[in-house]
Each structure stands twice: as structure tokens, then as C-alpha cells.
Symmetry: C2
Subunit: 213 residues, 2 copies
């Protein structure tokens, strides 16, 4: 398994958590988004959106983190990152998409670059934009986690799921953009617990080989 990613790409971080949790061996290939390597014609030919992560399984090169997550669950079912009950499973997927389509696409690098270039936004404007959309998503995620988390240890039920794998990177991004997350008490509790799990901790951006020293 070869994961093409970038240390602080939140979608790459999600898949690192999943690979680690499922104890799948993987090699890291850094696609330096800060140097525009995602626009290399070779990379674009295999992945026309030019996003990370891309997972090379040997049989195929898979892109889009939500599609990769489903694939890993199918091929490496243990430990499960989705509950087996169909409705519970739909609820975990909902929590993934609150973040994956409700928040992250708005704070994507290409969008922030466009806001700077076209609407003259400086660092402060960018932070304000990101904080706004992350806060909206976190309000919804918090409401769901409050109903669905067993003891505030995990986002859904009482074990690690894809809802956590999507939450952790978004929380990292929230910090990066200066959002005060203290009012999201359930999220705070989950993040604090999950940060102590080895599979999750090892996926943190600061522990990737392409992170600045």
C-alpha cells in the first residue's frame, strides 16, 4: 500500500488514521501541496482533481477519501470503522459528510488561494472564512455526537469509527485557523480521548516525514 498524501491535508490524515487503525502496512509518498506537486501532469493523469490522498493498493489507485474509506472497510473489515447496524452506519456516514462535504471543501487550499487572489483576503480574512464554516459544521457535529456518543470518548457509540477519523483532522484545521472550540464540549472530550490512541496519534500531521521540523 502506498499513500500519496501531504502532512497537513486533512483528507490524507483521515486515511492515515484508517490505515493505522486497521493495522495495514503503508508507505508514504509526499505530494508537496506547498510546491504545487498536485498539478504535475503525471499526478493529474492518475488523479484528475489533483487532490490528496491517493491510495495505491497495487491493484488500483483510489482517490477521494470517502471512497477509500468504504473500500478499506470492505477489504479489511477488522477492526470495523463502521457499525454493522444499517441505520447506525448511515449515521456515522452522515457525521463524515457533515465534515467531508459540509466543511472541508470550503477550506480547501485552492479555495483559499482564490479568496486571496480574487477577493483580496489577507490572513485574517481567510481565518474568518474558515472559522465560520468550521463552526457551522461543528455545531451540527456536536449535536449529533451528544446524542450518539456513549461517554464522550468516541463520536459514535463506544469505539473508534470513521466519524472520529473525519473529526480529528477537522479539529486540527480548526486550531490552525484559530477557531475557539471550547464551546463544543462533546467534540473537545472526544478529541482529547482519541488523541491518546496510538493509531490516531501516529497519523497526526506533526509525525509525518514531510512535516517541517
Amino acid at each position: 500500500m502506498k499513500l500519496y498524501g501531504y502532512y497537513r491535508s486533512s483528507a490524507s490524515y483521515r486515511i492515515r488514521i484508517a490505515l493505522n487503525a486497521k493495522r495495514i502496512e503503508w508507505d508514504y509518498v509526499s505530494i508537496r501541496l506547498d510546491k504545487g506537486q498536485q498539478h504535475d501532469p503525471d499526478y493529474l493523469a492518475r488523479n484528475p482533481m489533483g487532490f490528496v490522498p491517493m491510495l495505491d493498493t497495487g491493484d488500483a489507485q483510489l482517490v477521494e477519501s470517502a471512497a477509500i474509506a468504504e473500500h478499506l472497510e470492505l477489504i479489511y473489515p477488522e477492526p470495523p470503522l463502521y457499525p454493522s447496524d444499517p441505520i447506525a452506519r448511515a449515521q456515522v456516514r452522515e457525521m463524515q459528510h457533515i465534515i467531508g462535504s459540509g466543511v472541508q471543501p470550503l477550506t480547501n487550499l485552492r479555495v483559499l488561494q482564490h479568496l486571496r487572489a480574487e477577493f483580496g483576503q489577507d490572513d485574517e480574512g481567510i481565518d474568518r472564512w474558515c472559522q465560520r464554516w468550521i463552526a457551522r459544521g461543528f455545531e451540527a457535529f456536536e449535536a449529533r455526537a451528544k446524542e450518539r456518543s456513549t461517554d464522550g470518548l468516541f463520536s459514535f457509540g463506544n469505539s473508534l469509527s470513521y466519524a472520529d477519523a473525519w473529526l480529528m483532522p477537522q479539529y486540527y484545521n480548526a486550531q490552525r485557523f484559530g477557531l475557539d472550540t471550547s464551546r463544543f464540549t462533546t467534540i473537545e472530550s472526544i478529541v482529547s480521548h482519541c488523541s491518546g490512541i496510538d493509531a490516531v496519534a501516529a497519523a497526526h500531521p506533526s509525525r509525518q516525514p514531510d512535516a517541517p521540523p
Copy 2:
């Protein structure tokens, strides 16, 4: 089955296609986004992002179109809207997410309202913004469809899939925002073919009870 949606919400349109294709009986409940009904406390209590669609199955109220799609496939497997081969399935999901996370979140109503209010964008600015992101997504979707469509009739292989259910509403939005789609020849061919399928045609915004006359 009760579908809470809005005629021109593209995520609602996706699920209408899926329900029709799977011949599931459903009733329509209009959430008038133009009147802000998605912000009603009653609706938000059941769906904290305040998005449409929400599918009430009797057992549960499911939100997020990608989660609803997976659930429908599990409970109503015929006709399938995902291929059975795992890699093919991941490829269809990739095509869904090129649109569902790569494009649509950026052209969501709340984002466009924010661009008007905060960055002073008028109709022309909004069209430019939407055209930009839809075109980027369509370039990637076109590249994938060119490789994966059997004869330019469907987005993947030779039958209707969730890739088509995600494409059709995005194409409708592309027209709404004035994007010239003529260079996306595979997409044009697929949309033209799928528009003639009853299940797809009946899902069109113009045929919903809350569409303007």
C-alpha cells in the same frame, strides 16, 4: 418513505433519481429554501446542518445524500446503482465525490449568500464563482467518464449508477449558472442519454410540486 427536499436542491435531485430508479414509493415534503424553512427549529432539531434532503424511512430520518445513497443500496439492492466489483464501486464513489465534495459544497445557497453579503458579489460574480468550480469538477469527471463509460451512455460502464445520479443535478446547476458545457463532450452525451430515462426525467426539478409554474 417521505423525502424532505426542494425542487432545485441538487442533493435532493440525486436522491429522487435513486428512489425512482429503485422503484421505491415516496411522498414529497417541500422544504422551501427560498423561504428559509431549513432554519425552522423543528427541522434543525432533526437535521442540525439544516440541509436537504432528509429521508424519513419510517425507522429513521437520514440526512446527507451520500449516506442516504449507501443506505438505499443496502436495503433496496435492485436495481443496483453501484457495481459489484470493489474497485469499480470505489470508482463510482470517486465520481460521486468529485461532484459531492469537489463542487457542490462551493455553490451551496448559504455560501452564495455569504459571498453576496461579505464580498459584495452580484449575480455576475456569483455566476463566475460557480462556473469556476463546476468547470474544475467537470474536467475531472469528464476525464473519468471518458475512461469508464462504455459508449457515452452512462458515467460508468453500461448502466445507470450513482455517478449519473450525482452528475445530472450538477449539470442542471451548471446550466443555471451559465456554464458553457459544450467542451465536456462525454458529459454532454451521458446527460443527453440519461435525460431520456423515465426514472431520471421524473426527478427533474421542473417536475416537482414545489417548482414554480
